[in-house]
Subunit: 204 residues, 2 copies
């Protein structure tokens, strides 16, 4: 590699390392508790380059980290929803993945967006809008699956909101209790509900 190419590659690596570190810290402890110094230290990237990559500092880093975490999870939801069992079975599998993630992380890794959204909904429009956009993208995947199962558009929208709300709340209760029973209870109630044939025409 030429010096220029090597430098660009290091730059990309630093940028990715800052985003990775921010994503982990936001998920585990939220926005206000996460300082730029802690992000830099965890990233292992040169301190001097953080404002080069993120002139907006912590807020810009948080937007980038939330967007990345949100898109990863959107992809995971889409993959589950594309399975042959329909929305009910996919929600059951999503809950199992969430429960496994909580247990594997000693209940540290819940939703990567919820904590920042609650802390900053009243304090930062960029962070609030980023969270709202990510929730909308997740809801679109859930709605699509409910439509493919035969729900009409209004019912799919309402049920997707119920499913995402219940999953977010169950992650909260499970983290507070250090026990995945709330997630399992939500799955036990929702999966049969979603697996019932829906009334009305489909979304198409």
């Amino acid at each position: 590699m030429s010096t220029d190419a090597s430098s660009r590659s290091n730059g990309r690596a630093s940028r990715a390392a800052f985003i990775d570190a921010t994503a982990v810290l936001l998920r585990r402890q939220g926005y206000a508790a996460t300082g730029l110094s802690e992000i830099v230290e965890r990233s292992g990237a040169p301190r001097g380059s953080v404002y080069f990559h993120f002139p907006g500092g912590k807020e810009e880093l948080a937007v980038a980290a939330m967007a990345r975490s949100g898109e990863q999870l959107r992809g995971a939801i889409a993959a589950l929803m594309a399975g042959p069992g329909g929305a009910g079975e996919a929600v059951g599998a999503l809950v199992e993945a969430m429960a496994a993630g909580l247990e594997a992380s000693a209940y540290r890794d819940g939703c990567p967006i919820a904590t920042v959204a609650l802390e900053m909904a009243g304090g930062s429009e960029p962070l609030r809008e980023t969270a709202a956009g990510i929730f909308a993208a997740w809801l679109a995947e859930l709605e699509g699956a409910l439509c493919r199962d035969g729900a009409d558009a209004e019912s799919a929208e309402r049920r997707a909101l119920l499913v995402l709300s219940a999953l977010e709340g169950a992650l909260l209760l499970s983290r507070a209790r250090r026990d995945v029973a709330p997630l399992r209870a939500v799955a036990d109630e929702l999966v049969p509900l979603l697996s019932r044939p829906s009334q009305g025409a489909d979304c198409g």
Copy 2:
């Protein structure tokens, strides 16, 4: 009043003012963003008395504020659940109250417990345990109402977890979107479900 009695009364007023100020700030911006100075300033009580009343500082204040908010909301849930319409109608009324609270506060006043619980579940055992105890008390009120409607104990426990999870998640989504549609959608889906006759024996 004697000087002693007046001093005791001022002390009680300061203690209550610190708790009130902490409760408002935790609900709106969470734990990490809330400094002891901001609490003292908002309370109007003498700065020097905060460590007299709360030797454990911000963490002890947060436990007291969460306990107070949690007990107020438990009382409100119990009052709604005691109404003649059963759990379904009561959940509908609870959602309307939550939606009104969000709208009246420009979407600042959501759940008084959720933000701190998510931020601190991995960072403070006293705060995590306080949040878990409050959620358990709310769940007990919901379970009681579902039992009175004829649900068996297991079903009442699962459905109470679904209801509380869905309400917590809908408050999160509503705050992020600045729109109470998620709360309304959850009510539209849950109220008919809860109003259906339950199978099995009742909890007694």
